[in-house]
Amino acid sequence: MLDCYNKKLLRVNLTHRTFTEETLDNEFIKRWIGGMGFGTRLLTEELDPGIDPFGPENKIFICVGPLTGTSAPLFAQTCIMTKSPLTGGILNTYAGGHLGSAIKSAGYEVIVIEGKANGLVYLSITPDGQKIVDCPELKGKPVKETETAVKAAVGRDDLHTMAIGLAGENRVRYGCVISETRAFGRGGAGAVFGSKNLKAIGVAGLGDIRVLSNEEFQSAVNAAYDAIKEEMSHPWSVVTSFSQSGTIDGVAMINANDALATKYHHMTHFDKASNIDGAAFMEKYETRSIACQGCQVHCGVLRQPKKTRWGEAWTRGPEYETAYSLGSLCFNDDSDMLLRANDLAEEYGMDTLSLGVNVAFAMECADRKILPRDILGDGLTLKFGNADATIKLIHMIANREGLGDTLAEGVRLASQKIGQGTQSFALQVKGMEFAAWMPERMRGITTTFATANRGACHKRAPIGLELAGILQKDQVEGRAAIVAEIQNRVNALFTLIACRFAEMAMPTAVFLNLLKTSSGIEMDEAEFVKRGEAIWNLERLFNMNAGIDGSEDKLPDICFERPEVFPEDAKHLTHEDFATLMRDYYEYRGWDSQGRPTPERLQELGIT
C-alpha cells in the first residue's frame, strides 16, 4: 500500500540554513492524494492568510504526485503553491518537463521553502548532499545562464533545475519560475523566490520509484497509451493538433469561432491572425517537438535559434496564450516579435499572460489619452500594433524602469496608481490578469474568471465544449454548475498532477486505475471529484481569510460593454446574466448568498 509514495517532506529554512526531513503519515496521504492536495492542505495549515506574500513568513510548497516519475503518460508536472503576490490569495502553479521526476527520485513528495536568505542563494538537493549555496555572481542573470551555471557548479549531468530571472529578483508581481523549457507561469511564484533571495533550485536523485503491482500498473499504463492513441487518431482532436504544432495551433480555431480577444477585447476576431497561428510558426521557424517526461503528446515546439531585429532567440513556444497576450491583444501580428518576446519572458522569468495584458493595458491607456504616446522614450510610440513598443516595455517591466515599474505591479495596482477610471478596464480578477479567453463571449469563461480561486484563470472551464458548440457560448442556464463541476474535477486531477490535456485524451477511470495500481488507493469517480471540491473549498476559505471574499467574484466594467467587433447573432454579457451565473454558482456549491461555504457543506466535505 502507498508503494509509489516517498512519504517524506523536506523542509528548507533559508534564514537558518537548515534542512529537516519529516514523515508524511498514511492518513494524510490517502486523504489528500498528492500534488495540489498536499500543497493546499499544508499551506492552509501552515500559513496565516494575512501574511505579506513577500515576507519571510510566506512559504513555497513544491509538490509532486503519486504518478510522478513513473511511465504513466501526462503526469510529469510539478506543482508550486504559495501565497500569491499578484492576488494576495492562495496560488497553485504548474510546470512540466523533467524536474518532478528528479524530486521524486531524490526521495521527496514535498519540498517546503521557508524564511529568507541573507543574500542571493541557490539550493542544491542531490545524493551528494543538501546545500544552500551563496551565488552573488548570478544576480540579474537570465534564466538559461543561471540554470547552466548551477548545473556546472553542482557538477551532475542528471541535475534538473528551476530558476528565476531578473523579474523575480525585482519582485515583478507576475515574475515566474522557469524549469528548463517549462514555466510555473501564473501568479508570481518567481517573485516569491526573489523575495527570499532564492535564485534557483537544482535537484537530482538516484532513488527507485515503485508501484504496488507491476503487472497491473503496466496494464493501466497500456490502457492510457491506447486512449491517447485513439484520441490522436482523430485529425479534429485538439490533442492531435497540439501534438503537431503546439498549443499555438489553437489561434486559427479560436479566431474562426470569433472568440480571439483582439485589440484589448474590443474585437473578437483578428484579421491578421494567420500571421501568428500554428501553421505560420511551423512554416517560418525550424521546429522540433519535445515532450515532458513520459508524454506521448509532445506539445512542446522547440524553435531553433533565429535572428530577429531584437536579437537572436531560441525558445520553446510561444504557446497559444502568448500569441493572444502579446499578439492579438496588442493587435500585433509580428511573429518574430512574438518569438523574441517569448524568449525574453523566459529569460527574465515572467508570466507571458500577465505580461501581455500589462503591455496591452498601457496601449489602451495611450489610446484613451491617459498615458502619453511618447512615454517609452527612444522615439517609440506607445500604440497598438507597435512591436518595438512591446519589446521595449518587456525590458522596462523586468528592470522596473519608468512606466515598467508601474506595470510590474500588475494591472490591478497599476490602474489604482494611474487612476482616471482605468480600473474599469483593467483586465483582471482578484489581481490576476485575464487568460486568453473572452468572458464577454463565453459564459463558462465568465463564470470561471469570476470565481476561480487564483483569479482570472482559464484552467478549469468548459472551453472545449463551448468552442465545439456542444454548449452554446452565451447560454446562462446551467452553465455555473458545469463550471463548478469542472473546477472540482480538475482540482482532483491536480492531486495526481495530470497535465490539463490528459483529461481530453483519457477518461477518469483510467486515472483512477493508475492511482489504484500504483498506490492501492481506491475510490470511485464521485468520491475523487469530491476530494477536488474539498480542496476548492479549502482554497476559498483561505482567500476569504485573506480578505478576498464574494465581493471579489466580479469582472471589470469593460466586460459588460459590447465589443466593437462582435458576432451579430451573439449575446454580449449583461449584469443580469452575470448575477444569475453567480447566484447559480453559489447555490450549486452549497454556499450562502455572499459566496461563503456553509458549515453544513464543509462538514459534508470533511473539512473541519
Partner: protein, 133 residues
C-alpha cells in the same frame, strides 16, 4: 547479424519513455539510472543517446571477472545483476560508451534487447526507436 536497438535522434522528443520502460522491465522499478538507453538533452540542439551498439566482438565480455556478462540466445550481451560486483572493467573496456554503472547499486546496466523483445520500441510514440541489425 545480431539485432540491435537503433534511435533516430531527429524524431526523438526526449520524453524518456524508453528509459522508464527499460528500468521497469529489467529492475521492476522506475529509475533513469537503471536504463540501458540514455537520452541526453542538449537544447536547442538535437539530443544525444548512449546505447550499446551490440558489436560483433564485444570488448566488455572477456574482461568481466565474475562472469556477470552473459550472451543471450540472440547473441546480445546481458548483465546478470546478481553476479555483477561493480568493478567497472567492462565500462572501461567499451569504446562505444554502451555500458555504464548505476550509481545507487554499483551494478552495470546496458541494453540487452530484452532478449529480442525490444520492449521500449513499442512504447515510443514517435517511432524514433526501431530494431536494426
Amino acid at each position: 547479424m545480431k539485432q540491435k536497438l537503433v534511435i533516430d535522434l531527429e524524431k526523438c522528443t526526449e520524453c524518456r519513455t524508453c528509459e522508464l520502460k527499460c528500468s521497469f522491465v529489467h529492475f521492476g522499478v522506475f529509475n533513469l539510472n537503471k536504463s540501458g538507453i540514455k537520452i541526453i538533452t542538449d537544447w536547442p540542439r538535437l539530443p544525444k543517446a548512449k546505447l550499446c551498439v551490440q558489436c560483433e566482438d564485444p570488448a566488455c565480455l572477456p574482461v568481466c571477472p565474475t562472469e556477470a556478462l552473459l550472451v543471450t540466445e540472440q547473441g546480445n550481451v546481458k548483465v546478470d545483476h546478481e553476479l555483477c560486483i561493480g568493478c567497472g572493467a567492462c565500462v572501461d573496456a567499451c569504446t562505444y560508451d554502451g555500458i555504464w554503472m548505476d550509481p545507487s547499486t554499483d551494478v552495470v546496466v546496458k541494453c540487452d534487447t530484452c532478449e529480442g523483445r525490444f520492449e521500449c520500441v513499442q512504447d515510443c510514440s514517435v517511432q524514433a526507436l526501431s530494431i536494426g541489425s
